[in-house]
């Protein structure tokens, strides 16, 4: 059996991975052809590498199957939601209807989901109505970025006074200020949603922006459970076609960050939250990279 030198093997592997130029590959093939059984040996190594790639893919496929299983319960709910919002192709709208006829539990799920969505819509309308009232009260039409820190600061100053009076209160104060809800409020910022709603924008964009504003209203109301659902729904929605790449980044980053805050507000501080934060931290260009870093540090404070 012909043994190929390591140098030749390294080039063969690079060629198999498509990392050699055409000229280099031809030179390599010529060298292999001159070796006794060189071509056969090369073919066997290529088979091995293809086998490794296949094995790696198969192992990844098994993991995906496990991840997929975790989604099974959510799949029907999601399908129901899309059906009710008429987002599916006609064939799939019909598919859902046929399934409702055959599956009573699924039909019940659609019914419940319909009632829930109607409730959310009412809430959204209410929030939008309130927002319109606020626009009427503002002297200037420009949107403001205001933060929830006003309330937070008030709480903090009261806490500071307590600290002066009672030293023992220090730990209590710290642990409260770093509670999940306090951190969610501390890092939350109201985006300038008002000025993005123009009269001439397409319906699809208006719906998206309304949903975005409504999700933020839930955050401001500290209704974190509703906010999380709303932000996650927005995350699964296909953004309006007329959004530019900058718009997409702006909204996607905002959704990423606010899902983190809503989870925190709900007191969900386990692995799902860490995963969400680490996704932001893995991208230094993420709009909320610095906030995520600070939050990560806050979450590890010993007095929490």
């Amino acid at each position: 059996m012909t043994a190929l030198s390591h140098e030749l093997l390294a080039r063969l592997e690079a060629a198999s991975a498509g990392k050699l130029s055409e000229e280099e590959t031809q030179k390599l093939e010529a060298e292999l052809a001159q070796l006794p059984e060189g071509v056969t040996a090369a073919a066997e190594y290529r088979q091995l590498w293809a086998g490794f790639a296949a094995l790696r893919s198969e192992e990844h496929r098994s993991k995906i199957a496990q991840w997929d299983a975790d989604w099974q319960s959510a799949d029907n709910q999601e399908l129901a939601e899309w059906y009710l919002e008429n987002k599916l192709s006609q064939e799939n709208q019909n598919f859902v209807e046929r399934r409702m006829e055959q599956d009573a539990a699924f039909a019940e799920l659609i019914k419940q989901q319909g009632a829930m969505q109607a409730g959310f819509q009412a809430l959204k309308d209410e929030a939008f109505r309130n927002q319109m009232d606020t626009w009427g009260e503002e002297e200037t039409p420009s949107a403001k970025v205001r933060t929830l820190r006003l309330g937070w600061r008030r709480v903090a100053s009261i806490a500071a006074a307590v600290v002066l009076l009672i030293a023992a209160g220090t730990f209590w104060n710290l642990s409260n200020n770093y509670s999940d809800e306090a951190l969610a409020a501390k890092y939350y910022k109201v985006p300038p949603t008002g000025n993005t709603m123009g009269a001439g924008e397409p319906l699809e964009e208006a719906q998206y922006l309304n949903a975005f504003a409504s999700a933020h209203q839930s955050m401001q109301d500290q209704n974190y459970a509703a906010a999380r659902i709303q932000f996650e729904q927005l995350g699964t929605a296909i953004p309006p076609e007329n959004f530019s790449a900058d718009d997409l980044t702006y909204y996607q980053d905002n959704l990423d960050w606010n899902i983190v805050l809503a989870m925190l507000g709900q007191g969900e501080t386990g692995e799902p939250l860490s995963r969400r934060i680490s996704v932001i931290l893995s991208s230094p260009n993420h709009t909320y990279y610095n906030e995520a870093k600070e939050l990560s540090e806050d979450l590890t404070k010993f007095w929490r």
Partner: protein, 183 residues
Amino acid sequence: MSKYARDEDRLRELALGGDASWRTFYDDLRSPFRLFFLKHTTWSPEQVGALYQDVMVVLHRKVTSGDLQAPLRSSLRTYLFGVGKMLYRKQGGSKVQWEEEIPEVAVPASVEDHIAERERAAWVRDLLNRMDDKCREILEMVYLRGFSMESVAEDLQLSGAGSARKRKFDCLQRMRKLINSAN
């Protein structure tokens, strides 16, 4: 700065092959992908679910092999839809008027053929099981977990990347001997 800088950061993270990054990516894009194909095609939710799994395997292969690298010409999400579009066509999906931005992404022929791919995987798994522990460990690190030679050297306490590379090729040669001894 690239138009897709954030996606490129994410791509680099995925290229490292960590399960947590892939899991988050899988979770993040599952619903948009399902909705897109349930909206634009006639395929049922079950078929679209299976398509998403295939698409993820193709993407994993492309990213871990270095076939897909920065700079990106579309977002990862659009790219993923492009892989889905190609597989949908190849798996006999009916004609669809795709949005213009959805790219034509080449799908490796080997990944498409599940049966052949599974056989290839089983064959290498069998060969690996017949190797000694040391060789199996280094080959798994390099080819299945995507370790760099530097990381292999560090993990196995070898003198450096060169030494790890030499050992890898020695082990590959031994593996090739196993093929020949079986024939």
